[in-house]
Symmetry: C2
Subunit: 531 residues, 2 copies
Amino acid sequence: MADKNITAEDLAHQLRAVSVAEFFEKNRHLLGYENPTKALITIVKELMDNSLDACEEARILPDIKVSIKEIAPERFKVKVEDNGPGIVEEKLPLAFGKLLYGSKFHRLKMSRGTQGLGASGAILYSQLTTGKPSKIASSTGKEIHEIELMIDVNKNDPKIVSHKEEKNSGKWHGIKIELETEARYIEGKQSVFEYLRQTAMSNPYAKIIYDGPNGKVEFERVVKEMPPLPREIKPHPYGVEIGLLRRMLASTNARNLVGFLTSDFSRVGRGTALQICKLAKLDTDRKPHDLSHDEMEKLHKSMQMVKLIGPPTDCLSPLSEKLLEEGLRKETKAEFVVAVTRPPSVYRGNPFQVECALAFGGELPKEGSSQLFRFANKVPLLYHASDCATTDAVVDTDWKRYGFSQSSGQLPQGQLGIFIHFASVWVPYTSEGKQAIASYPEIVKEMKLALQEAGRKLAVYVRQKNRMHDRQMRKELFEKYIPELAESLEKLSGDKKEKLIEALEKIIKKSAIKSEENEKEGDGREPEKTG
Amino acid sequence: MADKNITAEDLAHQLRAVSVAEFFEKNRHLLGYENPTKALITIVKELMDNSLDACEEARILPDIKVSIKEIAPERFKVKVEDNGPGIVEEKLPLAFGKLLYGSKFHRLKMSRGTQGLGASGAILYSQLTTGKPSKIASSTGKEIHEIELMIDVNKNDPKIVSHKEEKNSGKWHGIKIELETEARYIEGKQSVFEYLRQTAMSNPYAKIIYDGPNGKVEFERVVKEMPPLPREIKPHPYGVEIGLLRRMLASTNARNLVGFLTSDFSRVGRGTALQICKLAKLDTDRKPHDLSHDEMEKLHKSMQMVKLIGPPTDCLSPLSEKLLEEGLRKETKAEFVVAVTRPPSVYRGNPFQVECALAFGGELPKEGSSQLFRFANKVPLLYHASDCATTDAVVDTDWKRYGFSQSSGQLPQGQLGIFIHFASVWVPYTSEGKQAIASYPEIVKEMKLALQEAGRKLAVYVRQKNRMHDRQMRKELFEKYIPELAESLEKLSGDKKEKLIEALEKIIKKSAIKSEENEKEGDGREPEKTG
């Protein structure tokens, strides 16, 4: 049947491992490098994310300088400098020269970066398109280490091209990174400038100086306090798959099941641990390493059956309504801003929290659709809006209730800015490019509740404004016709025209006051559905 | 300024490597496992892709059995068995138990699988959701090896749970894989059944037996020849970034530049190699390993400057117009099918080829939007249609020219099936889930040209049909009024009614023939734009 061009033995010779660096070099679009315009934004974003995370962890108010210079057509030099804690010398090469290497993957705590793919991905793209090493300077406050670094793509390992140690008389601490890349620079809705502007909105405690191809801009610090430092938490029993449980059982230091359950999970006290063991018909003294597959399955099932409170939420660091309002008011110059921070919630065992703000009027565009600003862990999302849970939530909200026109499946129309912030220990991005949040029902529901609460508050203001406008129009219309009306009435009744005009004006005034009173009474909340 | 909760030293302790398996376990949505319904389709798809690839490479007409059984609520057993060449014993654990391990990543040749993430990803998801090992049986025609396998997630390495060797009296060869998984089974547009139905459409030389929760279905083999085996090619100079060039220079066996250029690239003969060296002002005898960065840049630039013919295209294996037509006609029972295979083209140095077919009438739905069937390297794409280059091409095509109504930004309306096949050595999927093709302008353009060519052919048929329909309507209308008209004329002219009717019928007949002739003349091709 077969003419056996290729045999199993031939195929066996072709089998070999692919390094992570090779994989992401070829699949660069997964990291956000699918075109030269996006590549530039991605580089700035990844380096900024790291800088902001490092500053916040060290409780340092961030001062970040970003510089982009065109050095040849479609060739740019990008520099990002922060005042964070820096990285110790020994770890510098790995932190920047190895993909999937970092501090944030194995912990449950809100941060911008997660996988250890950001800065190393930027360096990988830089060397792919220019063939050049990246320069990294770091100081923890002592001497300054400056290295030139490439990534050995076949091995996914750093290759140090040069290393200098310098005195640090100014006691500078932080990271300075400089790289060259093929890229394209644009202004507009999806641009480095817009990314930085929105970053300033969601990080009002940061100072960002941007020196770009079209001049220098400074985003000043608006507030001097940072949100509280989020705490690392243990996994919640409800969010742990059996495969992960098996691994946790194999690697735990606990000597028995009760110890394992209470020390390796959040929200499991001794009482609950005993209850879980009882449900699973497992001896509380059993060694975690010794469980058979069936016993693991029973344990896993029992963990889902006990009643537990949700995971602790101090692993989250929301912006707060105050910071939200200030950030949005500053950037949109809106005449009215309202912000809502929802209580924390849970999806797939991961705590998360939604915040939203609505801005009305000001410098927002008067015509067309409202503007949606999307953020995940304080990072602006500029791409793939149509795939994002935030968009689903806005589109599914009935904006007519709040005084805005809206076509089915569309954003509302009007001079409206909508700001949604999703904060979580694990943001379910739809791809590694980290540009859209997956539409888990729990997430969309929370977003809708936040929008509805903010929408109701805004509606009071908007209705008031619309009414005043309507009333003014009606009044003007009446006033315009009063002389004409008076003339006709004069002919009919024989009364003096001036007297009639006076009487008519009195009537208008009275009716205006009355309708105002009526409207105030009718302003009670209407019930809403969240579906 | 800082209250230094966390120092650079603290951060250093948290830094560590993430294994590829850990990464994809946590980011399972990147592999297509974002929900239980899709997980089941993804598992079947990945195993089928491997089976079809292996059979084709070994020139064996594929016989594939797929079985899905519900063994508990939301828990399924999936089995896929092929008659391919099998995998040799030594490589079996790595081929299935290590992510990013395979034969297809490092070569330029069209195939379904690419990264070495498919089967291992399915096994990873199975063990995550059930905690159980997968069973794999393989034979290359000699003894049968059966292993039970898990993946050591922390190390990304296979862990063999058991290994049996059995006699193979029936001389069976192939792979049999059996795993358990959490999943949800549905019927409909995005289902295992639909995936298999469309796979049968695009692989009419395969026989697929599907034993699912709702019964057994057999997709018979329609043709007995396979498309020609694609050949592996070398990279084309236009598609090589400088970072890759640097690596090729470092690892080549060639002793001088001319040897390097002629042996490591496609379409570079000795003359062209000399020309490239001259343009780069580099001695033809230079050792590839010795080039400085500046010299590499010059070499890279010169490679882009010489005139070269496109890459060889025998690395592609399109379906052909004949197979396309047969596949589509069989599945849609259409009354008219037209297929177009475009000549090969190139994006970013990668050869690709577009095929399309249009089916009209038959069992296609009469109301609403047309149906789009999308394929990449013969694999049906069921998800993310709105993100796909195929959709962009269909939406951008002016279907009114071909007799179909269409709203702006939408698929055309009507009883129409649109089949697009994208074949390439490297399909630019928008994510690892491999469900949508990125919209490179070169790709969308080729798709539009294919659709336009097919559209014109279909239009002739559709117009003819519409015209005949219109004419019939007009004729019927006339005929209905002839007696009435004749009666009136009789009164006016005094002629006999019967005579008048006869005359009127003659007129109708004549005018019908005339309008038919007129229409035939006007059927010349209209010029079109491709933007």
